[in-house]
């Protein structure tokens, strides 16, 4: 079946940037109450760029793989670029059709990243 393409399974079973950071600039976490997906995301930021990224979590293949794929994409990016990174770009990277029932899984990590950036902006002010 298409949803569990090689790319998704690879990131689920061998997640990139997996593991917590020692001294993150910011930590955010969230969960999907219905299915029990959990994610925690650490970022260190230097000169308005994402210098390090790490996550930990448990849940379905889509939620965990999407987080892994997202971390690869935004590492070393400027906060401005990370902020403008869109859902559609993420869907493109996932490369599989996400049914309405799985949107929350696919976007759990994405919403975490957005939450982190909002908090970082608040801190900066």
């Amino acid at each position: 079946m298409d949803l569990y393409a090689e790319n998704i399974l690879d990131h689920f079973q061998n997640p990139r940037n997996h593991g917590r950071l020692d001294k993150p600039t910011i930590t955010v976490d969230d969960a999907n109450p219905l299915c029990g997906d959990k994610l925690v995301l650490d970022l260190t930021v230097e000169n308005s760029h994402i210098k390090e990224i790490g996550f930990d979590g448990s849940g379905c293949a889509i939620s965990q793989a999407a987080m892994s794929i997202l971390t690869e994409e935004i590492l070393h990016k400027s906060l401005t670029d990370a902020e403008s990174f869109s859902k559609d770009e993420l869907y493109k990277l996932l490369g599989v059709a996400i049914s309405p029932a799985r949107v929350k899984c696919a976007l759990l990590g994405y919403t975490l990243l957005k939450k982190a950036i909002i908090l970082l902006k608040h801190q900066a002010q």
Binding site: Q13, P33, C35, G36, S58, G59, C60, I62, R102
Partner: protein, 416 residues
């Protein structure tokens, strides 16, 4: 016994084919499918007898009235209540439980009192009591799961006996008859007897998962309240039933106020209607209540003892197959007789949500998640489970197809 292959033919949805695969429905713990007779009864009411009840003098109003009250009579017989005065129609099990929380508990739970629930509760029989406890400054206690490895997923009855012996201010035990996650059947007759003999606690049973699987006899159980839903027992959605002992219902204030629940109305005050109508304010879900009678008739014709036997046969068949699958863990009691047809399982390396998704690719409907029982998930230390659940229309072939779907999931995820 009956032949589930013949039963299946009475349920039009089960002949659906999607992408060349027959629909295999293994999520009846969530909601059951409906036989043609139930579907026809809804159409027939709207096509021939649509009128409001308890009001009109004309023929179709009288037909609607008689049909609505006939369902109440059927429910009374089905659960062996003493009288139809004890049968209240609600929207669902949750509303029945809330009715008791807002009326009986409002009058009878005071500061320092104790309410007991169990570790196996669905949120619907937990949150209302959490709220009562918070509002009244009462205490909420939980019967834990047994720690004896011989009796996994059963409640620790010794804990309950000890607790009831030592604590005399227990006012209510609110407990599920059967778990929607592990299938566990709780010994509610024994619990009711303990509640009544070791103190003066009342007992409310959440029968959402049992009414379609086990013979129900509220007089034999000696329970004070019993709440259940039509839609989990072959009937329409939007109909719940609350049974309560007459003397308790008489003492309780109304739940919702408005039309039909009143006797006399003056500009500044009013008095209440007789039981059970005191608890049925406003226009009811007439069509679905009327159609619910057909669901009861269907189950009664099969015979609840036979339904139970069929359930046991499927549990035994499924358990034997599932136990042989590597890296699969069952979250159910050891003995088939301790459970209804609800089987939770987990496969290491595959999240239940993914299992359910792969089942769907085979057109097999199952649930993956926490099943509205988050505290139970914590008790058994899993984030979620995959769950298959049976009804009268399920066959051994359905289970075979489910087993194939499990093998497919393991293959996709490369799990040995």
């Amino acid at each position: 016994m009956f032949d589930p292959h013949l039963v299946k033919k009475d349920f039009p949805i089960l002949s659906r084919v999607i992408e060349n695969k027959p629909l295999v429905y293994l999520d009846s713990a969530s909601t059951s499918q409906k036989p043609q007779s139930v579907i026809d009864a809804i159409t027939n009411y709207y096509a021939n007898s649509n009128a409001n009840i308890h009001r009109g003098v004309y023929t179709i109003a009288q037909e609607a009235d008689a049909a609505y009250e006939a369902t109440r009579e059927s429910v009374k017989t089905f659960i062996n209540a003493k009288s139809t005065e004890e049968i209240i129609f609600t929207r669902n099990t949750t509303e029945g439980i809330n009715l008791v929380a807002y009326t009986w508990a409002e009058q009878n739970i005071h500061e320092g009192d104790i309410i007991i629930v169990s570790a196996l509760e669905h949120h619907s029989n937990l949150i209302p009591w959490q709220q009562v406890a918070i509002k009244k400054n009462a205490r909420l206690e939980v019967i834990p799961l047994s720690r004896n490895p011989e009796t996994p997923y059963l409640l620790d009855m010794e804990w309950l006996k000890k607790y009831l012996t030592e604590n005399k201010s227990v006012k209510l035990i609110a407990i599920t008859h059967a778990s929607n996650v592990t299938g566990t059947i709780n010994p509610i007759k024994e619990i009711a007897s303990l509640a009544h003999s070791l103190g003066s606690a009342k007992i409310l049973i959440d029968g959402a998962q049992s009414a379609a699987h086990l013979p129900i006899d509220v007089q034999d159980f000696d329970c004070d309240f019993f709440a259940f839903s039509s839609h989990k027992m072959l009937g329409p959605t939007g109909v719940g039933i609350l049974y309560g002992k007459k003397n308790l219902l008489e003492e309780m204030p109304p739940f919702l106020f408005g039309g039909d629940m009143i006797r006399e109305v003056h500009q500044r005050d009013a008095t209440w209607n007789d039981l059970p109508w005191k608890f049925e304010a406003g226009t009811q879900n007439i069509a679905d209540v009327i159609a619910f009678k057909e669901a009861i008739t269907y189950l009664t014709n099969l015979g609840m003892e036979n339904v139970r036997q069929h359930d046991q046969k499927l549990i035994g068949y499924a358990r034997a197959k599932l136990e042989n699958i590597k890296n699969l863990k069952l979250h159910i009691p050891k003995n088939d007789t301790d459970m209804t047809g609800v089987i939770s399982f987990a496969i290491s390396g595959i999240h239940p949500h993914d299992i359910a998704e792969i089942f769907n690719s085979e057109n097999v409907c199952i649930r993956g998640g926490n099943h509205c029982a988050k505290p139970l998930m914590e008790s058994i230390s899993v984030p979620a489970t995959a769950r298959i659940s049976f009804s009268v229309y399920n066959t051994e072939e359905d289970i075979d197809i489910a087993i194939e779907a499990i093998m497919k999931a393991k293959k996709i995820f490369n799990i040995s």
